[in-house]
Symmetry: C2
Subunit: 116 residues, 2 copies
């Protein structure tokens, strides 16, 4: 099975609507990248319900750690930087999207993080 | 300017991670539909920061009302039905995505709803 994971910083003062918009940015970005770069996996994900899992990380350092591990393992990832019109400082990295890719592969990177 | 709007039911007991995943489902669905059916507007949205606005509605009836108004005004919309593995009953409609489309047009439909 394949899934998409979005990891969200819990150290920012974002309300639930703000979090939802940031996660949606990441999901759309990963969707568009994977359609081009990883078509076979994208199709499998698309046809099996487009599973999305949202997890929480402590801080920006964990986002960067995830990003590095994605590079090493060849997993698509996209960090989201907020325009900052509301709630947080402009240019703040809020979350990172991973995949879609194999469950096992993504769990190597984000399996230890709890669900948001 | 163009934007995407996602309207979320506030009468369901969904946590912030659950809400974020549902909003992401809607955003990805509207993205994929608009790429095919409304390419010019999709491109404008894509190139201008992919604005997404998340609003709240009282109940399922308001989701259906929005859906009907989208049909009348020719706006792309997609309701999201949760698979129900967690938190809520399977088959529950959780949110609706609109657009991307012109700000003014979407505001005719969802402009009266508050931000989530």
């Amino acid at each position: 099975m394949v899934k998409m994971v979005i990891a969200v910083r819990k150290d920012l003062a974002m309300g639930k609507g703000k979090i939802a918009a940031q996660v949606a940015h990441a999901a759309v970005a990963c969707t568009l990248i994977s359609m081009k770069k990883n078509k076979k996996t994208f199709n499998e994900w698309y046809e099996t319900g487009q599973k999305k899992v949202v997890v929480k990380v402590d801080n920006l350092q964990e986002i960067y750690k995830i990003k590095e591990e994605c590079k090493i393992l060849g997993v698509i990832s996209e960090t989201i930087t907020d325009a900052g019109f509301t709630q947080i400082i402009p240019g703040t990295v809020t979350c990172i999207g991973l995949g879609p890719d194999e469950d096992d592969l993504l769990d190597q990177i984000t399996g230890s993080y709890g669900l948001l």
